[in-house]
């Protein structure tokens, strides 16, 4: 079906108000997460553009169809950035197209720095959206501290367009770091690695990335600890962390800026799974539970990020669901199928009282049931 592409919020609102046909809402279409929806595609690409940027107030307001790349370029000119480091799903999901800022927030997409500075939702200050009846609504604002009324801003983040179609976002941005450095430790077991990352994250050195690849370069396990800031500070902190962790194995310090950028982009985008067959699962767990879970599930490959709190698993096709759901029901946390056959459910089934609230909200925000129906609701 040919996508409809409204050119303004008002046009979108009229369209939603007047239809009873289900809509599949998309930004750039690069993150087809959640169950496939058989519906009229609707793209937000024409509702695009940065509306306000105040570097001195660390705030930017943009329409949701704005490409992430355009925002990142604008921010870079003022030495600022999206600190939550949104992942680019194109490599992992073999999609093409242009990721949009609306898509980032609709899926609450963060990267390695989430462990230190927060998720996408933590940087979202305000939203405008069109609900399932075509009503234009505003919540939050453009200031950093705001407790005026209920926080629907957080609710909209990560709701995958099932509660409303985001049309505008106000976000907090942060200064870019002057220098990035990474400590690289080779040869650790998963248990040793997560314990080392926990020690680093529990230090006063403000670690901004903490990842582990059990099969790194030449199949040797590689553990990475990132530090960012002024150059002297990065050097000082790397020495202190070396004192803490140097006894564990061979430690190298990477200070080349390009090498650092490539390394962390590879972790952010789960580069080691690109161009490989199999299902991809994403787990959010208590970090110390992660190695045991992975041992029990026995995937083909694993990427640990967020100090072990985020686990990416590569599984042989259609083999993982039961094992993964069973394992995680014992530890707590949740698992999402990011790539693979999605008909059996994608998101973690919720406890009954929480599911009831979720269904209740959905029924209130979208009583016609037309916004991405089936994508995120109850697991089938």
């Amino acid at each position: 079906m040919k996508p409809i592409s409204p050119s303004s919020e008002a046009e979108l609102a009229d369209l939603v108000a007047s239809t009873s046909e289900p809509l599949r809402v998309m930004g750039g279409g690069t993150r087809p997460i959640g169950r496939l929806v058989n519906a009229q595609p609707l793209t937000m690409q024409q509702i695009s553009g940065i509306e306000l940027y105040e570097p001195g107030a660390l705030t930017l307001v943009a329409k949701t169809g704005t490409p992430v790349a355009e925002i990142e370029k604008t921010l870079a000119e003022e030495n600022q950035r999206l600190a939550f480091e949104p992942m680019d799903h194109r490599g992992l999901l073999s999609t093409t197209g242009e990721p949009t800022i609306g898509g980032v927030f609709a899926a609450n997409v963060s990267g390695p720095r989430r462990i230190q500075c927060g998720a996408a939702r933590d940087f979202l200050l305000g939203v405008r959206f069109v609900d399932g009846q075509g009503q234009i609504t505003r919540n939050g604002g453009r200031v950093m501290k705001n407790v005026t009324g209920y926080d629907l801003v957080k609710l909209m983040a990560g709701s995958y367009g099932t509660l409303g179609v985001l049309t505008e976002v106000a976000l907090k941005v942060l200064p870019r770091s002057h220098v990035t450095g990474t400590l690289k430790i080779a040869g650790l077991t998963d248990v040793q690695a997560i314990s080392a990352l926990s020690a680093a994250l529990g230090s006063p050195y403000e670690v901004t990335g903490a990842a582990h690849l059990p099969k790194g370069k030449d199949s040797t396990p590689q553990t990475f600890i990132r530090i960012e800031g002024f150059e002297n500070s990065v050097k000082y902190r790397s020495v202190e962390l070396f004192k803490m962790l140097g006894h564990l194995g061979e430690v190298k310090f990477e200070l080349d800026q390009q090498a650092n950028a490539t390394l962390w982009q590879n972790i952010r985008d789960v580069g080691t799974f690109h161009d490989r067959e199999g299902d991809v699962w994403r787990l959010s767990v208590k970090p110390s539970d992660a190695p045991g879970l992975v041992a029990r599930i026995a995937p083909e490959d694993t990427v640990y990020d967020w100090g072990g709190g985020l686990v990416w698993l590569l599984m042989p096709q259609e083999t993982g669901a039961d094992t993964i759901r069973a394992a995680i029901s014992e530890t707590g946390g949740h698992a999402t199928l990011i790539r693979g056959n999605r008909t059996a459910g994608v998101f973690q089934p919720l406890a009954a009282p929480v599911a009831a609230l979720q269904d209740g909200l959905r029924a209130r925000f979208d009583p016609k049931g037309i916004l991405n129906p089936g994508l995120m609701g109850r697991a089938a």
Partner: protein
């Protein structure tokens, strides 16, 4: 302040209610003698008082659930209460309500340094959460100025901030999970020791919902290792405009201070008389604090001092010892006390975009003259969260009313410049009737729809957040 008239049916069934509550709770956990319930008649907003029908102080989540179920079945409104430090009337009872206080729920349930969280019962005070982990070098970051007294339950209800949230965020950014009881008594867990809870972000929705969606009895909170050190620098300027520009330039330079505090001349003078911190007598004073090792602090402060010098400060003072740091903070920390000493005051809490700072301060000055009441300004400049203090005389007839009118005008000004009514204190009853200045009816309608889902009978924390006229039909329909 208009409150809904009490439900006569509820009032007439008080004995029955007490009887039912005493069947599921220890006797001393149910307070109903009017001489004792009076202690709960108000919170930190003492201008408004109303003793509740009864007070319940449960010792477990199960007792909270049993209490709520009884009240739900008997259509009795419930006002959840942490430590009662709300400045917005967030815990103000109605005559027909039961106060549900979480003060007895104050245990630490789990401390986990490897995974950097602490799980506590929510009656625990903010400062004692840090108290439980500081010997091991950790702390809980949100630090509202009432942190000695305020409870985590109230912090979650109001999404409390503090002086250090420029770097560490507010409650919602540090809350990982909750155990919550909805009005019908259902107990549920949302989130936990992992990041980004599954499903919709209900955690984000509950945080800041002013106790209207559920009663949170346990919370999993993120803890961090303390920084190696912290040091402030003090700078004085002869205009608000220049001070505002300096804040903006510091932020743009890529240094992220942990706090940037601002005081204006009336506030400086009052605190000087009170605390004698040695502040310069100038139009605008900034305290900027950075963290790290000594060398790291030196490097950051060098950048900050260079920016400050380019704005020709009337005073620039870098701390070189813990004593000097304490002295720099002394005046700021005693600002509220100093004001209380000379006058009654009302503390506002609007937030504005930093770029609007000079304009807003100028307008506040003009309004202050117009209404004939002095206003002193002290606030978190890094994030634009203002705390104008309006001075008035509670014994002078009409002064409180004039003060409230001026307060409302200042908050409307904050909204006009694209800011908001409240940055960290919450709406409560205080700003309830100003909500339509910030939001259209449709914006409020969808917020109220959220309450419909969590509390269909509209019994939890009645008459807060939404203008009475907007929520009337729902409350009446539910009765």
């Amino acid at each position: 302040m208009e409150m809904p008239s009490p439900d006569p049916k509820v009032l007439s069934r008080k004995a029955d209610l007490i009887d039912k509550l005493e069947q599921v709770l220890p006797k001393d956990a149910v307070i109903h003698d009017p001489s004792e319930t009076r202690a709960y008649e108000c919170d930190g907003l003492t201008a408004y008082k109303c003793p509740p029908l009864a007070v319940v102080l449960p010792s477990s989540t199960e007792e909270v659930s049993a209490t709520l179920r009884i009240c739900h079945d008997m259509n009795v409104p419930v006002v959840p209460r942490g430590s009662g430090t709300s400045l917005a009337g967030g815990a103000l009872p109605t005559e027909d309500s039961v106060i549900l206080g979480v003060a007895k729920l104050n245990d630490v349930l789990e401390t986990d340094y490897d995974n950097r969280f602490i799980r506590v019962q929510t009656g625990r005070t903010n400062l004692s959460v840090t108290g439980a982990v500081e010997e091991d070098g950790f702390f809980y970051a949100p630090d509202p100025s009432s942190q000695l007294a305020c409870a985590i339950a109230g912090n979650i209800a109001m999404n409390s901030g503090g002086a250090h949230c420029l770097k560490y965020g507010v409650t919602t950014n540090n809350l990982m999970g909750v155990r919550m009881v909805t009005m019908d008594g259902t107990i549920m867990d949302i989130g936990g020791a992992h990041l980004d809870a599954e499903g919709y972000d209900l955690l984000g929705l509950i945080c800041g919902s002013e106790g209207q969606l559920g009663v949170v009895t346990e919370a999993t909170l993120r803890i961090l290792h303390k920084p190696e050190g912290a040091r402030p620098v003090l700078m004085g300027f002869d205009s608000a405009e220049v001070a505002g520009q300096c804040v903006s330039d510091i932020i743009k330079a890529g240094v992220l201070p942990v706090a940037i505090e601002y005081m204006d001349r009336p506030c400086i003078r009052a605190t000087e008389d009170f605390a004698g911190a040695g502040y310069p007598d100038c139009e605008a004073l900034l305290i900027v604090e950075v963290e790290g090792s000594d060398a790291e602090i030196d490097e950051q402060l060098e950048t900050i001092m260079k920016i400050a010098r380019s704005h020709k400060p009337v005073e620039l003072r870098e701390s070189s010892s813990p004593e000097e740091s304490a002295k720099i903070w002394l005046g700021r920390k005693s600002a509220f006390g100093a004001m209380g000493k000379i006058n009654d005051y009302m503390c506002l809490d609007g937030t504005i975009p930093i770029s609007q700072l000079p304009y807003v301060l100028k307008r506040i000055g003009e309004m202050s003259k117009e209404f004939g009441l002095d206003v002193a300004n002290v606030f978190h400049a890094g994030d634009g969260n203002m705390h104008p203090l309006i001075l008035f005389d509670a014994n002078k007839p009409g002064d409180l009313e004039t003060c409230e009118e001026l307060g409302a005008e200042i908050l409307k000004l904050c909204v006009e410049v694209d800011g908001c009514l409240t940055g960290e204190h919450g709406v409560g009853i205080e700003k309830r009737d100003l909500m339509l200045h910030q939001y259209d009816p449709a914006d409020l309608e969808i917020q109220m729809a959220v309450k419909d889902v969590f509390d269909p009978k509209w019994l939890l924390n009645p008459a807060k957040v939404f203008p009475l006229a907007s929520s009337d039909t729902r409350r009446i329909a539910a009765e």
